[in-house]
Symmetry: C2
Subunit: 144 residues, 2 copies
DNA sequence: ATTAATAGTTAAACGCGCTAAAGTATAAAG
DNA sequence: CTTTATACTTTAGCGCGTTTAACTATTAAT
């Protein structure tokens, strides 16, 4: 059975998704990045230095696919491969500065409507909502 | 300048996206739907009966692309085209029951982690967070 | 009645991301 | 030292979503 809060969270997510998905796809199109590429950037951004297979598994594709996708990112100067000196079979994937910038920029594009939303609340409402979200963020971090 | 609440909203979204995007893509892969198809289903679900060009514009593609994408959805029994009796050049796009079911199902798959999150809060925290989200939902509806 | 405009469909061609399978390089095990 | 395992890359081939351009059907304008 789903709690009343779960219900509300789902409803909120539905709204979030509609706005965010749209902004995301339009951003990708405008900048000529594919959804797969941006998703890969997010994964690398989050996981930090990791192997190609790990990345593929994260994204639900074969390591061959991950390797090829990474090629494009490297070509565009958004990511780099470096060898693991301990075990030279392993590669460590990381974002370049340009790659990090794209992550930030695309998130901003995706979330621009949130700023409009924040403005619609009174000062005290803002404080209350802020407090609640902080709580959620804190708890979410224990879910990883 | 971005408010403290904006900042928190963005941070929350970053977390939401990471979980949700991943679940979304894995669901799509498992069920053999493309991201484009699911996005189209969401758009139709939200906009209700609308024309093919409208749909294309919503998704940022040409009407030809929208028409072709719709073909696949129709083939799979997820959507239907009906003529507008007023102006027979117009078509009205709508989801079938099966289509609606996919929308619900994919949202549920995408959001399963939210239930785990909700459980991590005490009763009074749940009430507080619920109230805040209700506020956001209400305000968001005025943004459409 | 023509002509022009609108909404949608169809066809050809292209790039992308995917997989499977073969290939390369390095490390570990016997 | 040889064999086996691991991590990644390369290649060939496939389906999907996209665009442009041509086409059909319907409505509006002159």
């Amino acid at each position: 059975m789903r709690s009343f809060l779960s219900q509300t969270l789902h409803e909120w997510m539905h709204i979030v998704m509609r706005h965010s998905m749209r902004n995301f796809i339009l951003y990708a199109k405008e900048k000529n990045y594919s959804v797969a590429q941006l998703n890969a950037l997010y994964r690398i951004h989050h996981k930090g230095a990791c192997g190609i297979s790990d990345l593929g598994e994260e994204m639900g594709v074969t390591s061959a696919a991950a390797s090829q996708l990474l090629d494009k990112l490297v070509q565009q100067g958004l990511a780099v491969r470096t060898e693991d000196p301990q075990d030279r079979r392993n590669k460590r994937v990381a974002l370049t500065e340009a790659g990090e910038r794209i992550v930030q920029e695309s998130m901003a594009a995706r979330q621009s409507w949130l700023d409009l939303l924040a403005e619609k609340l009174t000062q005290s409402e803002q404080e209350q909502v802020n407090h609640s979200l902080r709580l959620l963020i804190e708890k979410a971090k224990t879910l990883e």
